[in-house]
């Protein structure tokens, strides 16, 4: 990868002036990823915050060609674009190298768009799919998704006399993609920009499908101050809530391993977010313990996978 200073001086591919919230993780992630895209790209975006806020007609923040058609089909749409490219290139009607990338939120990826994503990667289209995971349907005002962590308040996993918020754990999306046996799967976080851009560059250059799951803090939905986005992403990684790892042709590599004494309790991270505030009232100690136990189990499993695979 080029030096960060050089990358930072490249022209912006998602310009300022878009209407995403202050502190939103999505445009930070998009800009880091697009800054290492090796050539002109076509970007497909699922319906969601990123799409509505960057393409308010007649304006667009995208310097590359961009297409949005619906919510559940960012992957299927980019397949069509990529196939058109292959067809026209084969016929000699295009001669430039181009890159294809889809962005979807967790709702558009873990839930409603999972089928289209699964089909697209199984067929082996040459594209990068990026999920910017903010842990809920934030665009419609904070409803639970398959990515919402256990214990989180959302408007459809509300807190009440009979409920402590979402009672289920998250879907392990990266592992679902690993199970598709595609060339490259990675998780990333915007606080570790070098790691994220390394992975994005690798993903772009990988022949065949590549998948990146990037944590994307949402100040509105997480009930956090807008200036804490990067710190929260960092602590998510340090607590092993969001491990950084990559799987290249089936080979696991963990990119950040906190020493046991540096691995922070997940409750410390949760305490900083309003969506978990109710869990810190008396009576929820067991819930917090269960959440920590789950994080620990998943981390142990990941360590074993790296060792064995």
């Amino acid at each position: 990868m080029a030096r960060p200073k050089e990358i930072a001086s490249r022209p912006e591919r998602l310009t300022g002036g878009h209407r995403l919230c202050a502190g939103c993780g999505a445009p930070i992630n998009v800009r880091q990823i697009m800054s290492v895209c090796p050539g002109p790209a076509v970007v497909s975006v699922a319906t969601g915050c990123l799409e509505v806020s960057t393409t308010i007609y007649p304006y667009t923040a995208w310097k590359d060609s961009m297409i949005h058609s619906a919510f559940e089909n960012a992957a299927a749409t980019i397949c069509g674009v990529e196939t058109a490219y292959r067809s026209l290139r084969k016929q000699g009607r295009i001669d430039k190298d181009m890159y294809f990338v889809a962005f979807g939120g967790d709702g558009g990826t873990y839930d409603i768009g999972l089928q289209a994503l699964s089909g697209a990667v199984e067929r082996g289209h040459n594209f990068v799919y990026v999920c910017y995971d903010n842990g809920a349907y934030m665009n419609t005002g904070f409803q639970r998704s398959g990515a919402t962590p256990c214990g989180a308040w959302t408007t459809t996993s509300p807190v009440g006399k009979e409920s402590y918020g979402k009672t289920q754990n998250r879907k392990d999306l990266a592992e679902i993609l690993v199970a598709h046996d595609i060339p490259y799967v990675a998780t990333a976080s915007p606080h570790n920009f070098k790691d994220l851009m390394n992975k994005a560059e690798k993903a772009f250059n990988m022949p065949g499908p590549a998948f990146l799951n990037v944590i994307s803090p949402c100040p509105r939905g997480w009930r956090t101050p807008g200036d804490q986005t990067i710190a929260l992403a960092k602590e998510a990684v340090q607590s092993c809530y969001w491990p950084l790892y990559e799987v290249e042709y089936g080979k696991y590599k963990i990119n950040y391993k906190p020493r046991p004494e540096k691995k922070t309790p997940v409750a410390d991270w949760m305490k900083k977010q309003g969506r978990f505030a109710h869990l810190f009232k008396p009576g929820n100690e067991q819930v917090l313990e269960d959440i920590q136990a789950y994080i620990d189990r998943k981390w142990e499993e990941l360590l074993k996978k790296e060792e064995c695979l």
């Binding site: 007609y57 297409i67 089909n73 397949c79 069509g80 067809s87 289209a116 089909g119």
Partner: protein
């Protein structure tokens, strides 16, 4: 030109092969499957340059078609029934993005109960999605419409997606004679593809499918779609005439038979038109003043031309192969009835719904309809407007 024996699906697959589009995305569904698999075989044999996407659903079939067409490639798909229903969301988006995708639809009943046989509830359910709709009677018309669809969709005045229907099984699976053009004739007729604002033009990047909020241009956008539909009316006619010069088979929005002096006119769409025509000829031998109209263009609906053609009739019987629950009648009935409203002296109009879920329609059923209309023509007061042909007696209490 050569004559071949072919199924309706086979005929359409050959038409698509002769056009040889850049991309096809397709998902198999009865009774369309033969098209999906025949085309996959053409690709496997290296007989076409087309890139084929064997998608995992019809929603993705249409989504990928949208991506491909927006990218700048001539793009096709094909579907039936539940597949049509599953891509319904995307049909509107394809039309609103003004992408000239073409899609043969092999019409089949919609569940439930699940039923794989022919009716028009799939395509008629999508009549307001912004696609041009052409209905064919037989394999030849399916073939001819599939070719003309490209010219209509890609015409610079139109730039709308076009779906061409043939009846599932009745036509799609039946073997009949087909006049096939030479590949070169088809290619020349269709011409090269010109993409507008393609995503793949790296020197001129575009944003497609931007967000339109309050205060935006959604309403005007919809109005321009309707303007394009109005333009399509002329373009369909022009393409149909030109196709006639090439093949001797001229196409317009509808065809009539013995309509000039007819008191009673039956209007049909799809394969049943052939049965109706046979019955008209038979009844003419018995001096019944009956004629018929076969509708080809359903969207845009040629209301003025149809009203003018039917203006001499006293009684009209409209035959629908789909119902519209709770409405006055089936979709074709409502269009025809509405079109006739502008006439000074309006004929009486009755609706005959038939063939749902592939139920057979027999000559006796059609004759029965005409006999009923004869009573109305003779001045008998008939209040019931909607009839079901060849249906068993049923009641809501479950007693057959």
């Amino acid at each position: 030109m050569s004559r071949k024996a072919m199924t309706g699906n086979g005929a359409i697959a050959i038409a698509l092969k002769q056009v040889e589009p850049d991309v096809m995305s397709a998902y198999p569904i009865t009774p369309q499957t033969e098209i999906a698999q025949n085309y996959a075989q053409f690709v496997a044999d290296g007989a076409v340059k087309t890139e084929y996407i064997a998608v995992e659903s019809e929603h993705s079939a249409m989504s990928a078609a949208i991506g491909s067409a927006a990218a700048g490639a001539r793009t096709i798909t094909a579907t039936s029934s539940q597949g049509f229903a599953l891509m319904w969301e995307m049909l509107f988006i394809a039309a609103s993005l003004r992408l000239p995708i073409t899609m043969p639809v092999i019409t089949r009943a919609l569940s439930g109960p699940i039923n794989i046989h022919c009716d028009h509830s799939d395509s008629m359910g999508g009549r307001d999605c912004g696609w041009v709709q052409l209905y064919g009677e037989d394999a030849q018309e399916g073939y001819d419409n599939a070719i003309q669809a490209f010219r209509i969709a890609e015409h610079m005045d139109v730039r709308l997606p076009v779906m061409t229907m043939i009846d599932g099984f009745i036509i799609s699976g039946a073997i009949g004679p087909l006049d096939v053009l030479e590949d070169e004739q088809v290619k020349q007729f269709v011409g090269p593809y010109k993409a507008i604002h393609p995503l793949l033009d790296v020197d001129n990047p575009v944003t497609v499918g931007a967000f339109d909020s309050l205060g935006g241009w959604y309403f005007e956008h919809k109005v321009t779609q309707n303007m394009a539909m109005a333009k399509a009316m002329d373009v369909i006619g022009g393409v149909g005439r030109e196709y006639g010069q090439l093949t001797g088979r001229e196409y317009s929005h509808f065809k009539t038979h013995h309509i000039e002096d007819a008191e009673i006119v039956l209007v049909a769409i799809g394969s049943a038109a052939g049965n109706v025509k046979t019955m008209v000829d038979k009844l003419r031998d018995h001096d019944v003043k009956v004629g018929m109209m076969k509708v080809r263009t359903f969207r845009p609906f040629p209301a003025a031309q149809i009203a003018a053609a039917l203006s001499g009739a006293k009684i009209i019987g409209v035959m629908d192969r789909s119902d519209s629950f709770g409405a006055l009648g089936g979709p074709l009935f409502m269009e025809i009835r509405s079109a006739m409203f502008e006439l000074g002296a309006r004929p009486q109009i009755y609706n005959f719904i038939y063939g749902l879920g592939g139920r057979d329609i027999f000559p006796d059923d059609i004759e029965g309809a005409v006999r009923l209309l004869e009573k109305a023509a003779a001045g008998e007061k008939i209040t019931q407007k909607r009839y079901y042909l060849n249906v068993r007696e049923v009641s809501l209490d479950g007693q057959a």
